[in-house]
C-alpha cells in the first residue's frame, strides 16, 4: 500500500473575528508547501489537491495546478495529484485542462496524477452555471476528449453536447506517455464500478472500512479484467481511499489534537453539500463560529441529525444508510488513523490485507496547528511508513496476478 496527503486548504475564520487576517491565506498555502516538502523527504508517495470554488473556510483550493506546480519545484519524488480537476466545461475548458496537466507533468518530470470529477455543491454548480442534472454527462464527455487532446496531434476537433472546438494541436503534450494516470472521484460505491469499467483509478472519498474496501477491491479488479472499455489510451487500475491522520505518541494526544479538525472537516463538508450550503451568505456566514457554538453531539445535525458516535457522546451509534452521509459520519468519528503509531499501524494493516492500493491522509483540517500537522506527518513517516514500504513488493505481486491477461496499456504509479 502507498500513502499520500490530501489538501483542501481548510481555513476556518478566527472565532472572535468576522473574517480572516491579511496573512491567513498566505500562511495556509506556505504551510502546506512545507508539509508536502517534509512528506516528500520522508517517502510519502502522493499529494492530492482538490479543486473547489467559493467554499469559504471549507476549502481555499481553487487553483490546485498552481499549488502543485509550486510543490513540484520543492520536491523530488512525491507524485502530484489533482484530487480532482473539475471537468464540466463551464468550470474548465477541456483544452485548458489538457494544457495545464501536460505543463505540470513537464515541470515535475512526469509526476502528475490526473484526477477528474464534477463536484456537487450548489455554491460551485450555481456559481459557474453548471446544470446539476447533467454534470455526469459533462464529466464523461470532457474527460474523454481531454485525454485525446493529450495524445492526438492534431486533436481532430469535436462537436459534442457540452462543448465543441475545431481541430487544433493542443500543446504541450505530457511527459508521461500516453498520458498521466487517470482517476475519478468516487464518493459512492457505484462510481468505483464506473471507474473500473472505464479503466480509471478510483479516488474513494468515502472513509471506507477495511471490509468494505476489500469487497470493492475484488469487484473493481473483476470488472477491470472482464468489462473494461478504457476512456483513455492507458488504464490506471488503482483504488485509493481517504482517512484522517492524527498520529501522536499516545492515543489520547492524537485524539486531543486531531478531533476538532476532523469534526470541522465533516461539519463544513456536510454544510456545503446539503441544502444549507445553497443558502450560504458569501463573506458573511461564519462557519467556524457556527460549528464551535453547536454542542458537540449536535454538530452532525446538518448530516441528518446523527450523532458523532465515538467523538461527541452522541446517542446515535447507528450509521446512516445513505452512503454519502455514512462517509461523513465516519469521518467525524474516532477511527481511521487517529491514534498512536501502534494504533495507526494496526488499522492500516487491515487495509493492506484488503489489497487497497493507496491510503490518502487528511492531515490538515479545521484549525489544526501547522506544527501539529508537521509533527503528525513526521511521526507517521518515520514510525509507520517504512514497514509498509517493505511490504509493497508483495502487493505488487498480488496486483500482477489480478491484471494477468489484461491487454490494455497500463500507466499506473502503484
Amino acid at each position: 500500500m502507498k500513502f499520500g496527503l490530501f489538501y483542501e486548504h481548510q481555513l476556518p475564520r478566527p472565532y472572535d473575528e468576522e473574517t480572516w487576517g491579511p496573512e491567513d491565506e498566505h500562511q495556509i498555502l506556505k504551510h502546506a508547501l512545507e508539509q508536502v516538502e517534509l512528506a516528500d523527504r520522508l517517502g510519502y508517495d502522493y499529494v492530492f489537491e482538490v479543486e473547489h470554488h467559493f467554499l469559504e473556510e471549507y476549502s481555499h483550493s481553487s487553483a490546485p495546478e498552481i499549488f502543485l506546480a509550486a510543490a513540484s519545484q520543492r520536491t523530488k519524488n512525491i507524485r502530484l495529484g489533482h484530487g480532482i480537476a473539475l471537468m464540466p466545461p463551464r468550470y474548465n475548458h477541456p483544452a485548458r485542462v489538457a494544457e495545464r496537466i501536460s505543463t505540470l507533468d513537464l515541470v515535475s518530470d512526469g509526476r502528475v496524477e490526473f484526477g477528474t470529477g464534477e463536484s456537487a455543491s450548489e455554491m460551485e454548480l450555481g456559481g459557474f452555471g453548471v446544470a446539476r442534472e447533467e454534470k455526469k454527462l459533462m464529466w464523461e464527455e470532457a474527460t474523454r476528449e481531454c485525454v485525446k487532446m493529450m495524445t492526438q496531434s492534431p486533436y481532430p476537433g469535436y462537436e459534442g453536447a457540452y462543448f465543441g472546438m475545431p481541430s487544433r494541436n493542443v500543446i504541450p503534450k505530457p511527459l508521461q506517455k500516453p498520458h498521466p494516470p487517470l482517476w475519478v472521484a468516487s464518493s459512492r460505491r457505484e462510481t468505483t464500478m464506473v471507474a473500473a469499467r472505464l479503466g480509471m483509478g478510483s479516488l474513494g472519498f468515502a472513509f471506507e472500512t477495511p471490509e468494505e474496501a476489500q469487497e470493492r477491491v475484488e469487484q473493481y479488479f473483476e470488472l477491470v479484467r472482464e468489462e473494461c472499455t478504457p476512456i483513455g489510451a492507458a488504464i490506471n487500475p488503482a483504488l485509493a481511499v481517504l482517512s484522517s491522520l492524527s498520529c501522536f505518541e499516545t492515543d489520547e494526544e492524537a485524539v486531543e489534537k486531531g478531533r476538532e479538525g476532523t469534526q470541522f472537516f465533516s461539519y463544513s463538508l456536510g454544510y456545503y453539500y446539503s441544502p444549507l450550503g445553497a443558502a450560504h451568505q458569501p463573506s458573511k456566514t461564519h462557519l467556524y463560529r457556527n460549528f464551535r457554538d453547536t454542542p458537540e453531539e449536535k454538530r452532525m445535525g446538518v448530516l441528518g441529525g446523527r450523532g458523532f458516535g465515538g467523538f461527541g457522546g452522541g446517542n446515535e451509534e447507528v450509521e446512516p444508510d445513505d452512503e454519502v452521509k455514512r462517509a461523513l459520519w465516519r469521518a467525524a468519528k474516532r477511527g481511521g488513523c487517529i491514534g498512536s503509531p501502534d494504533f495507526v499501524r494496526d488499522t492500516l494493516r487491515r487495509y493492506d490485507d484488503a489489497h487497497l492500493d493507496v491510503m490518502i491522509f487528511v492531515a490538515q483540517s479545521g484549525a489544526r496547528k501547522h506544527e501539529d500537522v508537521m509533527d503528525s506527518i513526521y511521526r507517521f513517516g518515520t514510525k509507520v511508513l517504512p514497514e509498509f514500504k517493505e511490504r509493497h513488493e508483495m502487493h505488487e505481486k498480488w496486483r500482477a496476478e489480478q491484471l494477468d491477461g489484461v491487454e490494455f496499456a497500463i500507466n499506473s504509479s502503484i
Binding site: E133, K136, L137, W139, E140, A161, R188, R189, E190, T191, M193, V194, R197, L198, Q219, E222, E226, E227, G304, D321, D322, E323
Partner: protein, 108 residues
C-alpha cells in the same frame, strides 16, 4: 459477477438482462430495470420504509437521481420516472450497481 449473487430468480434474471443492455449500450433499459428491481425490493421489504420522521423517505431518496428518479404519489405505486431520455454510460452503471448492491445486501 455480483449480479449472480442475487438469490431471487426473477430479479436476478432481470438484472442480468440489464447487464446485457449495459454492454449493448441500451442505457434506458438498464435504468428501467434497475429501478423496477429496487421498487420490488421495497415492496417485499416494507420495513425498509418504516421509521420515524424523514427516515421512511430515505430509501426513496437514496435512489440515484441522475436522469431518473422514483416517483411517489399518494395512492399510486412507486414508479420510475425519467427526467430525460439521453442517458450516459456512467449514469446507467450507477443505477445498475445501486440496484445490484441493494438486492444482494438485503438478501433477495
Amino acid at each position: 459477477m455480483k449480479v449472480d449473487r442475487i438469490q431471487d430468480e426473477g430479479l436476478r434474471a432481470s438484472l442480468q438482462a440489464a447487464h446485457a443492455s449495459l454492454r449493448a449500450g441500451d442505457h434506458r433499459d438498464v435504468v428501467q430495470r434497475a429501478g423496477e428491481a429496487y421498487i420490488e425490493l421495497l415492496r417485499r421489504k416494507p420495513e425498509l420504509l418504516q421509521g420515524e420522521g424523514a427516515m421512511p423517505q430515505m430509501r426513496i431518496f437514496m435512489f440515484p437521481r441522475l436522469c431518473a428518479h422514483l416517483e411517489v404519489e399518494d395512492g399510486r405505486p412507486v414508479a420510475v420516472a425519467f427526467d430525460r431520455e439521453n442517458i450516459g454510460f456512467p449514469e446507467a452503471v450507477t443505477y445498475y450497481e445501486f440496484a445490484v448492491d441493494n438486492l444482494v445486501r438485503e438478501g433477495l
